[in-house]
Symmetry: C4
Subunit: 381 residues, 4 copies
């Protein structure tokens, strides 16, 4: 009997399994440039806030924009289903663990009010800040005209997995080439994780791609569906697609690593893996200004038949400014993310994000509490 050809599987990597290798030249952190460009927009920080109800509302969108980043408002959440989202959010925070999924399923079954879609966008624009909003593919055709009329600046079309081609019996799939032509703003599409899916999406002409399926702190997609690619590999593969697309087309489409970040170390690794920006959820849900009141939950959590997510208690640790810029007395990497990024770029000798994308990384075992056992006995005298 001839030896069979066994199917081979490729190894993938998450944040915990890699580490950045310092460079042969170092530079002062204040010499680093971390700007992000999406079409004609330039942001001082390569930081987006997730389109999640616990992370972004009108108020936080304005704050983050003033700090240099970009918040994305979820147009299919409590902000557009309720006139009084604060009360609904407080209700969610108060719900006992055993009832919270049912509660979320109920809250998210209320209809989206088109009037509120326009109102929320206008409120953000009124503050003079860049306004980005997010919709799912199924609602894009209906809501895009309202979004355009309310003069949002950037449109994200986002679902767990989005591809350039979707087959459906019940509705004609969203064609991104058509969408990008029909709206006057840059379109960000996501989420995807593979080279080929990312390349296909870029070829539709859209302006940026969100990378990440299943990594978020509030997400249980991998347990429920078995689907997901760890973020370092997803980012490396989509970065390869971006570079290939640029070779083919001359056009540079930034990729935004979305989800799974727990600290500055993870964020620095995403850039070393090839990200142009990062989208933060649970870390920003810890901000004092966050609408989730110390809680966080995923966008697929409220699914009526197949909920995939958990409400997690993230606590409230500091203002959004402190989380991004410090100063801080916290030593676990959850605050001063921008300081951490600039310092990591400094030790890698990277003057800008493009250079940081070329930093060497190694596969390194996760640091466990067992490995650093004394930390377990950290105690006051």
């Amino acid at each position: 009997m001839a030896k069979p050809r066994f199917r081979e599987l490729r190894r993938s990597f998450g944040f915990d399994e890699v580490a950045i290798v310092p460079g042969d030249v170092t530079i002062n952190p204040d010499q680093t440039n971390i700007e992000l460009k999406i079409d004609d927009f330039t942001f001082a920080l390569p930081i987006l806030a997730s389109a999640m109800d616990a992370v972004v509302d009108v108020k936080t969108a304005v704050i983050l924009s003033k700090l240099g980043g970009l918040a994305v408002l979820n147009l299919e959440g409590v902000q557009t289903r309720y006139d009084n989202p604060e009360e609904v959010l407080a209700d969610i925070a108060r719900a006992p663990v055993a009832e919270v999924t049912a509660k979320l399923q109920k809250v998210y079954s209320a209809p989206i009010k088109e009037k509120l879609v326009a109102e929320r966008i206008e409120a953000i624009k009124k503050a003079g800040t860049t306004c980005a909003v997010s919709v799912t593919p199924a609602n894009t055709k209906r809501l895009a005209p309202i979004i355009a009329e309310a003069k949002a600046d950037i449109l994200a079309v986002q679902s767990t997995v989005t591809t350039a081609k979707h087959v459906s019996k019940s509705y004609r799939g969203l064609i991104f080439t058509e969408l990008q032509k029909s709206v006057p703003m840059p379109v960000i599409v996501g989420n995807c994780v593979s080279y080929s899916a990312c390349l296909d999406i870029m070829k539709t002409g859209i302006s940026a791609v969100l990378v990440g399926v299943g990594p978020g702190a509030a997400c249980t997609t991998r347990q429920v569906l078995g689907v997901g690619v760890p973020q370092i590999t997803a980012t490396m593969d989509c970065a390869a697609a971006r570079d290939e697309y640029q070779r083919q087309s001359g056009r540079y489409v930034p990729i935004i690593t979305d989800g799974g970040f727990r600290n500055g170390g993870d964020l620095c690794k995403a850039f070393a893996a090839g990200a142009d920006a990062v989208m933060l959820g649970s870390i920003l849900a810890q901000a004092k200004e966050a609408p989730g009141l110390g809680y966080h939950w995923g966008m697929s959590h409220p699914h009526p038949a197949l909920p995939r997510g958990t409400r997690i208690k993230v606590g409230t640790t500091g203002t959004m400014e402190q989380i991004l810029f410090g100063p801080t007395s916290v030593t676990d990497g959850s605050q001063n993310l921008i300081g951490a990024l600039r310092t990591a770029m400094g030790v890698c000798g990277a003057r800008n994000i493009k250079e940081m994308q070329k930093a060497e990384m190694v596969i390194a075992p996760a640091i466990t509490t067992e490995g650093k056992s004394w930390q377990m006995t950290q105690a006051s005298p």
Copy 2:
């Protein structure tokens, strides 16, 4: 001294170590076809219930059949040893931990009554549903005529490890080619885990193969014997054997991944690894209708000299219909398994099980509670 040739070992993978990569095209979950065919039988769902006393009795066999799947009744367990199996099952559930193995050893030392074999089959047939039953190789010759006369539809011949050739001093080994010719029904044989053993079994002419040695939740075969192959690798290798056998013979023999499933994610991964169907034990033991009353134990647990298994408390979480179809407010993947499978197929762009078998997988680190540390602090306010 010449450098020695060190023996090389091949890496194998279990459910926890792989993840499914979404496809380049997505389809709506309601566009997916998940039918299973075994010879002339077609089942709406690719789901079998394990021939274990805590999972299948006459009542659950009828329920699962009506839902579209196939239950396999163990003909060498309490159902055929006792006129009053419910009482015996309640006794097992009530036994203290320290006494349960001895209790099981005693319960399963009662003789199999041929009269009950016929009665159980007839009860299932009477409900108008497909009846599948399971025997061990050693008892097959004795029980096969009774099974055929009672008109069971499908016969499973199953032991921890079954091969096409068994060497024994005390009795002439069961020859599957002869068995398949002597009974008027499809024969399913198992369990096996390797390419060559699976190919040998298929060549005997039987109708389906069960894949899995040692993975079940209630099974301690790997601790006791050191024997077992993790399910993803076992499924991939046996799928390769199935495809090779089809090339050689033109005949398609489905493989059924049996054991080790904890959630929808595991189930989806089995199909992506090449399974045509899955056989569920502990997940279905959680059904309200399950005969185990919230407990589960393995078929090799009661062995008088070398018990390999544990009684585990799985609890009771919902009806069999909820476990298979939802709706649910559980977010850990233990309910709405069919919804999970169709959704995973959707994000992989797989219109049927054959296409799902070609979905890409990557080796991905297990998601640990440490990795998603906030989940540890999930709490009510």
Copy 3:
């Protein structure tokens, strides 16, 4: 700058990381032959008991011999330092954890009495059983004549790491070729873990080799010295040396995997890795007849300056006969080791140990409690 040649390290494997693949043919367990031959001695079981004070005394040596195995008596422990070893052993068992290492250091600083060396051997011989004894290289020249005169059958010369060549300023190293010629009995030498060291030892003409550095349950050599090779790799490499030596010399020198076994699964894997026999410590320390009274400690534990070991509580679980042959109601693989070995050989189709050494193994992730999470909730009703 030219790319440097990075140093490559080879991957090694312990019991937890491999699993045995069932064969393409199965045989009945009662068809298996598990005999062990060391020179002209033939043992019904391929089982040795470790030369450790908690495992072997005169009484257990006789019991194990009658059951078919071979116990090795430590001639440098309490049995030869004290006229009343039972009292000393009881003292050790009673010592509080914080004082036990100091206690052992004191106990083992008493001198070895040559009179007791002879008496212990004669007591074992008087029972009509094969007598094997163990000494360290440093004491071999002094004690070998006494051992020969007392007519011990087999001599083990054993230290943490033993090589064919030892360099010392203070004494002339032990030359095994000379030793083997000077004593009238087979000499077993150990411990070693590498291909080349094992081959060198075999070339000295000795009769068997002990394999294993650092794996034992009571051993902390890897923490203290960083030295040790996991047992599967050590056994595979030394088996390769044995086969190479047989090719060169025509002589077959069995290898005995020594230490680290926790259950029948580990034992079966050692044979599949190439062992001719196994030497058990902590498993046999659990026997009702064991001199350690439910405790176990290593031979390098009492070192006055650099103790490497811990006293561990193993408990008392059954008679030596039950541990080896069952029957049992224990399902964790710690009892009926011979039944487990024969069953594993059966599913691998191995008629004897030489065939079992060729069983296929795969690298398989350890089974964790997390992986089988329900076992954590195993509970009485």
Copy 4:
């Protein structure tokens, strides 16, 4: 579409993942020579104490020197900022966990007094012992003349990551070629972790290199910045750079593995990976004489904007002499480090450190408490 070229990552290793393979020849531990040479200085022990405030003050510098090693005094810590460092250290030890980082940030914001720099060096010299001191690159130009005038013997220039070339807007980077010429003493530079960075530093003419970024027990650089290379790989790569540099230049520049050691096993592995010496922090912070009073913290812990470290409680276990030479009743490898090193060299047949650097290592799974489960039940009767 052509198959993309996926980016490949190299695997790196920490202490926990490797083990030393015994040699084919063994030698008596007392035959081993473990001397360290840095330029014209020869030390009996290849042991340095970290330039950390919890580890080295004037008193411990003198003690370690007398024992044969070399302590490095941090010239930018409490010793040179305060006339009464003992009181400040006691304050730090007494601070509650929640306030300790803020406390450290405050303590380390006091100015460095040049008068104290000279006084501390003179106090060490007065005892007749070799005096090594440490400064950061930014303060080197200012402090180097004072250090030289006070007649320190060895100067370490040290920061988290130090390279031969640093780009800064605000000050002209430190040029090591100039520094080495301008001071009359050997210069040690660190820390680095990669082949090329290490080679570049050696080419500047300095006398020794410190290896290690992120591994220390008190260090959270990997969480905060994502930067760090596990110590075995870092040591192997820098050892390759040292050997390459010697081939090119004829000059031998020793490398000192700095940080992450928890026991003798780790220390032995560093030498087997290629180290010429090791620098110990948390292990020596456990000494009775240590200034940290049973606590330990990192040099980047007090950073005002981005603190990276934790104060850990290491406890007080024995005198510095016991930690280095025993005797001991501790079996976890934390005492008698020199005995452990000599014993490991003995079983590897290494007569000196250069030979120990060639000892074979294998990748070996970490020893977990799960793997040696009985240790968990270690208990007094």
